[in-house]
C-alpha cells in the first residue's frame, strides 16, 4: 500500500538557550493511503503542534515530513501556500466557515482558489454534497445551520478538492453527541467508500474509536499505538479507555 505521509524523527523546540521546551521529541510514524489515523493525548502532549507541523502552518526544528513523496520541510513560503491549497484538506474544531457565505459558497471557495474551471466547480460541489447528505443545506448561511451541519459543510469543503491527506483537529470538539456521531459516520464513509486518508487529532475516546489506528502521545513522545484490526468499535473503544486511564495515571507505577 502506498505511503501518503511519513514523519521521520521530527523535533520541535520552543524557547531559547537555557530554557528549551521540547513540544515534539523525536516522533516518527507513517500513514498509508486509505488509512484513518487517530492521534490522542492529554492537553499539552504536543498533538496540536504535531498537526500544525504536518499541516505546514508551523515549521519543525529537525527531521523530515514527507507527504506524497514531497518533503514539505524543504519548501519555500509560496510553494508551501500552494502545497497546502492543493494537497491538504482541513477540518477544524470551530468549523472556520465564513459566516458571510452560504454553504455552497464556502465549499466553492476551496475550489476557486485553485482556479478550477467554472463548470467543474458546480458539479464537484453537488457531488460532494450528495456524499455528505447536505444537498438541501447548500443555500443556507452558517447561522441557519446546526453545529453538526456546519461541520459537515466544513468537511465537504475539506474533501472537495480531493486532497492527499485530510487533517482534522478535534472535529467533534464543539458538537453534541448526536451530531458527533453523524459526523463520524460521514468520516467512516469517506474513509471506507471513497478511500480518503484521514489524520484526526482528538482527546475524546469515542471519537477516536472510529479510527483504524491510534497513536498515543505524551510529553512530545509516542507513548503507544493501538490497531483496531478486526475488532468491533465497542471492543476497540474499551481498549482505548484502558490506555487513556493508563495515560492519566502515573506511568511509572504501571510499567
Amino acid at each position: 500500500m502506498q505511503n501518503i505521509l511519513s514523519v521521520e524523527k521530527i523535533e520541535k523546540y520552543y524557547g531559547n538557550k537555557g530554557n528549551i521546551t521540547k513540544a515534539i521529541d523525536n516522533i516518527s510514524f507513517k500513514v498509508n493511503q486509505g488509512e484513518f489515523l487517530g492521534i490522542m493525548g492529554p492537553s499539552g502532549s504536543g498533538k496540536t503542534t504535531l498537526l500544525n507541523c504536518i499541516s505546514t502552518i508551523d515549521n519543525i526544528t529537525t527531521g523530515n515530513i514527507i507527504i506524497n513523496t514531497q518533503d514539505i520541510t524543504a519548501l519555500k513560503k509560496k510553494a508551501l501556500e500552494e502545497f497546502r491549497r492543493d494537497e491538504l484538506g482541513f477540518i477544524f474544531q470551530d468549523f472556520n466557515l465564513l459566516d458571510t457565505l452560504t454553504a455552497y459558497e464556502n465549499i466553492a471557495l476551496a475550489l476557486t482558489i485553485q482556479r478550477r474551471e467554472v463548470r467543474e466547480i458546480d458539479k464537484l460541489i453537488k457531488d460532494v454534497a450528495r456524499k455528505l447528505e447536505i444537498t438541501e443545506m447548500l443555500g443556507k448561511f452558517p447561522f441557519q445551520m446546526s453545529g453538526g451541519q456546519k461541520q459537515r459543510v466544513a468537511c465537504a469543503r475539506a474533501i472537495v478538492t480531493e486532497p492527499s491527506l485530510i487533517l482534522a483537529d478535534e472535529p467533534t470538539g464543539a458538537l453534541d453527541s448526536k451530531s458527533s456521531r453523524l459526523l463520524l459516520d460521514s468520516f467512516e464513509k469517506l474513509n471506507k467508500e471513497f478511500h480518503s486518508t484521514i489524520l484526526m487529532v482528538t482527546h475524546d475516546s469515542f471519537t477516536a474509536s472510529y479510527a483504524n489506528r491510534i497513536l498515543f502521545i505524551k510529553d512530545g513522545r509516542i507513548f503507544t499505538e493501538l490497531i483496531r484490526g478486526n475488532e468491533t468499535r465497542k471492543e476497540f473503544f474499551s481498549k482505548i479507555i484502558e490506555v487513556v486511564t493508563l495515560l492519566g495515571g502515573d506511568v511509572g507505577n504501571v510499567l
Binding site: 491549497r85 482541513f90 472556520n96 465564513l98 458571510t100 457565505l101 466553492a108 471557495l109 482558489i113
Partner: protein, 669 residues
C-alpha cells in the same frame, strides 16, 4: 495609573487612531484657516469696503457653527466605531473588576489626550496652511501680493479651541452614555457577532432597486426640465425624490448586485470574489444610511467646489463684456415732467456743478423704449423655460433702443470705428446669447424685424456682445436704430459714459466714485428731483469680487469639511470592519488562500466601497450641474481643479485605508 493606561492605549492603538487623529488635525486646520481669513492682509487689500468684511465675517461665523455640527457628528460617530473596536479590551477591564466609572475615566483621558494633540497639531498646521490659502485666494481674485504678511490670528485660535473643546466635551458625555449601556457578555463576544443582513429576499430587493432607479431617473428628468427656476413646491418634490431614490438605491444595491454577479459565474467563481462580494454586501447593507448621507454630502461638495471655482471666472467674463467703460451713469427719465431740462443728464450735471476734466473722454446718449417686447420678438423661438428666464432677468419688457449716432459716439470712446446704418436697418447688441439659444437662432433665421408695421433689416447675423454702458453682471439687450427712426419712441434714460486718461486715472476714479456715492445718498435731491444712478468700473468690480470671494471661501470651507468627513467615515468603517472580519481572514488563510489573493481581495473591497457612493454622487453632480448650467458657464479649469482636490483627498483616505486594513490582517497571526 488610569492616566498611564490611557497613554499606553493611545500609543498602542496609534495605528487604529492614525486616521482618526489625522482627520481631527485636518478638521482643526481647515477650521482655523477659514476663521483666520479676515485678518489676512491679502483679503483686507482685496476690499476696503467695511461692509464686505462684516458680511464675510458673519457668513464665516454662521458656516463655522454649521461645520462644527457636522464635525461634532463625525467625531462622535468615529469615536463610537473606535469604542466598538475595543469592546473586548474594555470587557477585559470589567472582568478584572474595574468599575464602569473607572473605565470611562480612562476613556476621558484618552479623548483629552487625542483632543489636545490634534488641536495643537491642527492649529500649527492651520497657521501654515492659512498663509497658503490667502496666497491662493489672492491669486484667484487677482489681488496685489506685495502687501502679503505672515499672520497668526489669535481670534481664530481662540475660536478653534472653544469650538473643538465643546465637541470633545460632547464626545466624552456621549462615551459615558455608550459605556453605561454595555453588557459584559456582549463586549467579550463582540468579535463573534455578525452584522444582520437587513434585506434578504432577492425579489423584494429587485423591486426596491427598480423603484430607486425610477425615482432617481424621474428626479433627474424633472430637474433637467425645469432647472432651479421651478416653484419651491415642485423643487422640494424633486429633492425628496432624489433623496429617497438615493436611500433606496443603497438599501437594495448590494443585494441586487450580488444577484447579478451570481448569474455571471465567471466573475463569481473567480479567486475569492465570493468572499469580497459577500463582505461588501454585508457592509453596504448595514451602512446604507451613512452611505446615503455620504453620497449626498459628496454631491453637495462637488457642486459647491464647481460653483466656487467657476463663479470667479464667470464673473470675470461677464465683467469684461458688461463694463466696457471706466464709468457710466444714467438719469431715469420722468415722462410726466414737462421741463425737458430736468430729464437731461447733461443739464443735471451742470446744475450740481460737476464738470468733466480735459482728459476724461465722454459721450452723452439717450436710451429709448420701442413699442415691442423681447417676448414678442422671439416668441417663435422661446421655450417655456427660456420665457421664465427672461422674466427673471427683467428682460421681458419693452426693447431698449439707442440711436446710431449715439451708439457711434459710445463705441468711438473705446477707440472703435463708427458703424454705418441705413434708414431701414437695425443692429442687435446683447449678451443674451450666452445663456440662451433663442436669440442666435432668431438672428440666424430671420432677416427682417417688424416694428410697428414697418420692416427693418437686421444688419448683424450674431449679436454684438459688448454693452453700451458699464453695469454689473446683468444681461442686456439693445436695438441700435437709425437716427431718423419714425416709430414711437419713449425716452427711458439719458446717460453718459466716461473713459479716463491713463495719466490721471486715479484722480478721475476718485472724482467719479465720490460723485456716484453722493448720488446714491441722494445728496443733490434738493437741487434737482431727478434720479441719477452711476458706478465706476472699479466699484462694480469690487462689488462682484467681494461676492465671488465670499462664495469661494464658503464653498471651499464647506467642501473641504464635507470631503474629509465623508472620507473619514468611509475609512473608519472599513478599518473597524477589518477588525471585525479578522476571524474570516484567519479562516481564509487556514484553508489555504495565499496572502497575495487576500491583499487583492482587500484592495477590491476597499476600492468598491469607496467608489460606490462617489459614483452616484458624480452622476448626481453631472445632472445637477447641467441643470444650473444657465447660471454658471462651466469651464474646464474649474472642473479640473475641483476634481483634483476631491480626488487627492479622497484618494489619500482610500490609500490609507487599504494599507491600514492590510496591516490589520497581516498582523493577525
Amino acid at each position: 495609573m488610569f492616566f498611564k493606561i490611557a497613554i499606553n492605549n493611545v500609543k498602542r492603538s496609534f495605528k487604529d487612531y492614525t486616521i482618526y487623529f489625522l482627520t481631527l488635525t485636518l478638521a482643526v486646520c481647515i477650521f482655523y484657516s477659514f476663521n483666520s481669513i479676515n485678518s489676512q492682509n491679502s483679503i483686507l487689500e482685496l476690499n476696503k469696503n467695511a461692509n464686505f468684511i462684516s458680511t464675510l465675517n458673519k457668513l464665516i461665523a454662521g458656516t463655522s457653527v454649521f461645520v462644527s455640527f457636522i464635525l461634532g457628528g463625525l467625531i462622535i460617530y468615529a469615536n463610537k466605531i473606535l469604542i466598538k473596536k475595543r469592546k473586548k479590551e474594555l470587557g477585559l477591564y470589567m472582568t478584572l473588576g474595574m468599575p464602569k466609572s473607572k473605565i470611562s475615566k480612562i476613556l476621558i483621558f484618552e479623548t483629552l489626550l487625542i483632543g489636545a494633540l490634534s488641536l495643537v497639531a491642527g492649529i500649527l498646521l492651520g497657521i501654515i496652511v492659512s498663509q497658503g490659502l490667502s496666497l491662493l485666494v489672492a491669486n484667484i481674485l487677482s489681488v496685489d501680493l506685495n502687501k502679503y504678511k505672515f499672520i497668526i490670528s489669535l481670534n481664530a485660535v481662540g475660536k478653534s479651541v472653544i469650538y473643538f473643546g465643546l465637541i470633545y466635551i460632547l464626545v466624552m458625555i456621549f462615551n459615558q452614555f455608550t459605556i453605561s449601556k454595555f453588557k459584559l457578555i456582549d463586549m467579550l463576544n463582540a468579535a463573534k457577532k455578525n452584522e444582520e443582513v437587513k434585506l434578504k429576499n432577492s425579489f423584494v430587493s429587485l423591486i426596491i432597486f427598480a423603484t430607486s432607479v425610477t425615482l432617481l431617473v424621474t428626479a433627474y428628468a424633472r430637474i433637467l426640465k425645469t432647472g432651479l427656476s421651478a416653484g419651491n413646491a415642485e423643487l422640494s418634490v424633486t429633492v425628496v425624490m432624489g433623496v429617497m431614490g438615493t436611500l433606496l438605491f443603497f438599501f437594495s444595491l448590494s443585494n441586487f448586485f450580488i444577484h447579478i454577479v451570481q448569474k455571471n459565474k465567471r466573475i463569481y467563481l473567480k479567486d475569492i470574489n465570493i468572499f469580497v462580494l459577500r463582505q461588501i454586501n454585508n457592509k453596504i447593507n448595514t451602512n446604507f444610511l451613512s452611505m446615503t448621507v455620504i453620497c449626498l454630502m459628496m454631491f453637495i461638495t462637488i457642486a459647491l467646489l464647481f460653483a466656487a471655482f467657476d463663479l470667479k471666472r464667470t464673473i470675470d467674463k461677464n465683467l469684461e463684456e458688461s463694463t466696457p467703460f471706466d464709468a457710466s451713469a444714467f438719469l431715469v427719465v420722468n415722462n410726466d415732467n414737462e421741463d425737458p431740462k430736468v430729464n437731461d443728464i447733461e443739464e443735471y450735471l451742470n446744475k450740481i456743478n460737476f464738470t468733466f476734466g480735459n482728459h476724461e473722454k465722454k459721450s452723452f446718449y439717450s436710451e429709448f423704449k420701442l413699442n415691442l417686447t423681447i417676448e414678442e420678438l422671439l416668441s417663435e423661438y422661446l421655450n417655456n423655460q427660456e420665457r421664465i428666464d427672461l422674466q427673471n432677468n427683467y428682460l421681458d419688457g419693452a426693447v431698449s433702443a439707442v440711436k446710431i449716432s449715439d451708439y457711434n459716439s459710445i463705441i468711438q470712446l473705446k477707440g472703435q470705428e463708427p458703424l454705418d446704418l441705413q434708414e431701414n436697418e437695425v443692429l442687435i447688441v446683447s449678451n443674451y446669447a450666452l445663456v440662451n439659444d433663442a436669440l442666435p437662432e432668431y438672428m440666424e433665421n430671420e432677416n427682417i424685424v417688424h416694428i410697428e408695421d414697418k420692416a427693418y433689416k437686421i444688419k448683424n447675423d450674431y449679436p454684438i456682445e459688448e454693452n453700451v454702458k458699464s453695469t454689473g453682471g446683468n444681461k442686456f439687450f439693445y436695438f441700435i436704430i437709425p437716427d431718423n427712426f419714425d416709430g414711437s419712441l419713449q425716452t427711458e434714460f439719458t446717460s453718459f459714459n466716461v473713459m479716463y486718461d491713463n495719466k490721471s486715472f486715479e484722480k478721475s476714479e476718485e472724482k467719479f466714485s465720490t460723485l456716484f456715492n453722493n448720488l446714491s445718498k441722494d445728496k443733490y435731491r434738493d437741487i434737482s428731483p431727478a434720479l441719477v444712478i452711476g458706478s465706476t468700473r472699479e466699484q462694480i468690480e469690487d462689488k462682484e469680487n467681494g461676492f465671488a470671494a465670499t462664495i469661494v471661501f464658503i464653498g471651499l470651507f464647506l467642501g473641504l469639511i464635507f470631503i474629509i468627513s465623508s472620507a473619514a467615515v468611509m475609512a473608519l468603517q472599513q478599518l473597524s470592519d477589518a477588525s471585525d472580519s479578522l476571524e474570516r481572514y484567519k479562516s481564509l488563510k487556514k484553508i489555504g488562500v495565499t496572502e497575495k489573493l487576500i491583499n487583492k481581495a482587500i484592495l477590491r473591497q476597499s476600492l468598491i466601497y469607496f467608489l460606490v457612493p462617489l459614483s452616484l454622487a458624480v452622476i448626481h453632480s453631472i445632472v445637477g450641474i447641467s441643470a444650473v448650467n444657465e447660471i454658471f458657464n462651466f469651464h474646464y479649469q474649474s472642473i479640473i481643479v475641483s476634481s483634483l482636490l476631491l480626488f487627492i483627498i479622497y484618494g489619500a483616505y482610500f490609500y490609507a485605508t487599504y494599507i491600514g486594513v492590510k496591516n490589520i490582517v497581516k498582523n493577525s497571526n
